[in-house]
């Protein structure tokens, strides 16, 4: 088969894959009400979440909200909404007009304000305004809420629940905070409930005198007193006695949040880059989502090198270019214009050096692209639909950029630059061995094993 025919065939397959991808995504985002973007840190989750939301609002219509944690506040600038806070702001139609798009729906953005959200929780769950005030004024409160393990994850999920309850939006896209472990997010509501029902919390809040009588807690207090000092324990206990008053509200809420994550209306999007460490983390995340019967709607491989870098015919040309750089430089020398700065035509030697650098640079990127293709093969073999967003130097700085990224997730441009590996959407239930055609693998409406 000639390289040209091979390319055409690859392009045709890619075009089919792109159509499938678009259909899958539109079905997914029409059927779901909540999209949770998760994945390792530093892979571009914030940008991908915003792109998904912007593109969904533009193409599918409805009211779409992206809830972000964007620490650099760059997203607010990109969306043209100025400062973002807990209160959602509408992205103006002018911003879409500037990007040359007439959106079918409305796009809103809000940022997760941790301390404001915690304060809101306390006010809601405290039995009365006085207790709420006491808790909020306690010096331990700020410390604890800020440092409470997985507190940020919990708040993100809690805000998501609240927004969903209010029912103002057709689609909520939530960008999750960077955490030690992406899986913590899934356990956060459960852990919050556990915290309140823990025996240790009960030990802490029993009146001081009965502590030393209580056989179970006595060793704990003896050691704790010795190490921390009883005054500190008293302060801590005082705080937790107040905190306990919110127990029922918190536990009920955490359970509701947990149910929502498992609900048929919720889907997870795993975002990763194709570097070794993030890819391993993403794979674990995918496995864990599956083990918990959570719906995985899409895998987004971000910042992937163009497929041409691992294309053998292109690689051969690069090699030839390096090997024959000397003679090619001779032929080129007469063709290149004079250089105004050095007042003369560039020497064949210098041109040869440039050609060699080009060949070397290609070889370097080919190595990376090959690794990426391998990792993507492994990742997308593990599950359903994969979207590939190509490497983009610089950063997405406006709505236009976000919509361009969205177009790649939708599969618009995949036909012209096929991603490096297995470009067809594939689903777990219908997996084939490598080499068999997947062209007829039309996506069905998303479904899950156990729906609620």
């Amino acid at each position: 088969m000639s390289p040209a025919a091979g390319r055409e065939r690859a392009a045709a397959t890619a075009a089919q894959a792109a159509q499938d991808q678009t259909r899958h995504l539109e079905q997914l985002l029409s059927a779901k009400e909540i999209v949770v973007a998760c994945g390792p840190g530093g892979v571009g989750k914030t940008t991908i979440s915003a792109s998904l939301a912007a593109t969904a609002s533009a193409r599918l219509g409805g009211r779409v909200l992206v809830l972000t944690v964007d620490p650099a506040r760059r997203l607010a600038d990109a969306l043209g909404v100025g400062g973002l806070g807990n209160v959602a702001r509408r992205v103006p139609d002018e911003a879409f007009a500037e990007a040359g798009v007439r959106p079918k729906g409305e796009l809103y953005a809000a940022m997760l304000d941790m301390s404001e959200s915690w304060d809101g929780l306390v006010r809601r769950h405290a039995p009365d305004a006085g207790t709420a005030g006491q808790i909020l004024a306690n010096p331990l409160y700020r410390n604890i809420t800020r440092r409470f393990a997985q507190g940020h994850d919990y708040i993100a999920m809690e805000r998501l629940y609240e927004l969903h309850e209010q029912g103002d939006y057709d689609l909520l896209v939530v960008d999750t905070p960077p955490s030690l472990n992406a899986l913590d997010l899934l356990d956060a509501p459960g852990r919050m409930a556990e915290f309140f029902s823990s025996r240790l919390l009960r030990w802490l809040v029993v009146p001081y005198r009965s502590r030393l009588v209580n056989l179970a807690s006595r060793p704990f207090y003896q050691v704790a007193d010795r190490i921390l000092g009883s005054q500190f324990l008293e302060d801590l206990a005082g705080f937790f006695i107040l905190f306990q008053t919110m127990r029922d509200g918190f536990v009920a809420r955490a359970e509701a949040v947990n149910r929502l994550l498992r609900d048929v209306r919720t889907t997870f999007v795993v975002v990763t880059t194709l570097e070794a460490v993030p890819a391993v983390e993403a794979e674990q995340l995918i496995e864990s989502l599956r083990a918990r019967h959570l719906h995985l709607g899409l895998l987004v491989c971000n910042r992937v090198l163009p497929g041409s870098f691992s294309d053998p015919p292109v690689g051969r040309i690069a090699e030839l270019l390096g090997q024959r750089s000397g003679e090619l430089a001779e032929s080129l020398a007469s063709l290149l214009p004079e250089d105004a700065a050095s007042a003369g035509r560039p020497s064949a030697e210098m041109i040869g050096r440039v050609l060699n650098e080009v060949a070397r640079s290609f070889a370097n990127f080919r190595l990376v692209a090959t690794r990426e293709a391998e990792l993507q093969g492994e990742l997308s073999a593990a599950h359903e639909v994969t979207a590939t967003v190509p490497y983009h130097p610089g950063h997405v700085t406006d709505l236009k950029g976000l919509l361009e990224v969205g177009a790649r997730i939708w599969g618009d441009e995949a036909a012209t630059t096929p991603p490096p590996a297995r470009t067809s959407p594939r689903r777990r239930s219908n997996r084939r061995r490598p080499g068999t055609s997947t062209g007829d693998d039309a996506p069905e409406p998303p479904s899950r094993g156990a729906s609620s």
Partner: protein, 318 residues
């Protein structure tokens, strides 16, 4: 400012994904190869060090990677047990298992307890002189300030008790610029540089630890000089493209694809340089900035660690 490897305690930190573990592992390897007895500790026990050295699990008790290099993972509960046994001399700790769990709980709830068990263990190794250098693969930007600020924070919250009496010597080690320093890792990209600049400020404002150096990881090599870049830009013109395609017996598209790789490298490098200039301008001039080149193979494991270690060694000797 002391030479980097003559510190006693180095906290390697930075935004998630910039290569903290790689740099920490490479620094520790380099120190051990220079004959320093070195301990490297990952604060978040995710197994990253074990993957980096390809050496199998690195428990709290430590694993010898080589004669002079020991790798360990932090475990606050084990740290507490060790502390109770060695420092507090609580003899019955083995019999009251729930105490450790209870403490884990208090550590979750009470500010600074977990942090001080982490930082305390590391300072303890320094104080006891078990090692010439302790390298810490510290937490990322989000929590490292909390960790390093914990000893001073605890002084305000806890007025008596053993923990209180321990914070003084910990603070003395952390705040000694001849012994303890932070190594800030970043990459030549917008967000990591912004976070590095921010973190440098917070370290000096909120913690006793001073900044020892900044490592710019994954720096792309310069491809072309100025006049070479002009030649490169000419190569994309139809006439030159046609000539190359003719001579190589290929289509223009394939030649374009080859040129695209170099163009990508040039663009990414140029963006990166701008970010690094900003970094250099915003951190104190006396803080050294070390460059580690991009590893194109994206090799991971020991081979990558060796390459980074060599790069750091060259940077430190110039």
């Amino acid at each position: 400012m002391p030479e980097l490897l003559s510190y006693k305690l180095l906290f390697v930190t930075g935004k998630g994904g910039v290569g903290k573990t790689t740099v920490a592992a490479a620094l520790a390897l380099l120190a051990s190869e220079q004959g320093r007895r070195t301990l490297v500790c990952e604060v978040e026990p995710k197994g990253d060090l074990a993957r980096a050295y390809e050496c199998g699990p690195t428990p709290f008790s430590g694993r010898h990677v080589s004669d002079d290099l020991v790798a360990m993972s932090m475990d606050t509960e084990a740290s507490l047990r060790e502390y109770l046994r060695v420092v507090a001399r609580v003899p019955t700790i083995g019999h009251i298992g729930p105490v450790a769990r209870a403490f884990d709980f208090v550590a979750t709830a009470a500010p600074g307890i977990r942090e001080i068990l982490t930082v305390g263990k590391l300072c303890f190794e320094v104080r006891e002189g078990h090692y010439d250098l302790v390298v810490v693969d510290a937490s990322s930007t989000g929590s490292v300030v909390g960790q390093l600020a914990a000893p001073s924070g605890i002084n305000e919250l806890i007025r008596v008790g053993l923990v209180r009496s321990q914070t003084d010597w910990i603070l003395e080690i952390l705040g000694d610029p001849s012994r303890t320093g932070a190594v800030l890792v970043t990459t030549p990209e917008e967000m990591p540089v912004a976070e590095a600049v921010d973190l440098a400020g917070r370290l000096s404002k909120e913690t006793p630890v001073h900044l020892a150096c900044v490592v710019a990881n994954r720096v792309l090599p310069e491809l072309f000089g100025r006049s070479e870049e002009r030649i490169f830009n000419e190569l994309g013109r139809p006439a030159t493209l046609g000539l190359l395609a003719g001579e190589l017996g290929s289509s223009r598209e394939l030649v374009e694809d080859v040129l695209a790789a170099a163009r990508l490298a040039v663009t990414v490098r140029r963006d990166g340089v701008a970010h690094l200039e900003r970094l250099r301008a915003e951190i104190a001039p006396e803080v050294p900035l070390l460059y580690v080149p991009y590893l194109f193979a994206r090799a991971h494991g020991l081979r990558a660690i060796r390459q980074v270690s060599r790069a750091l060694s060259e940077e430190l000797s110039t």
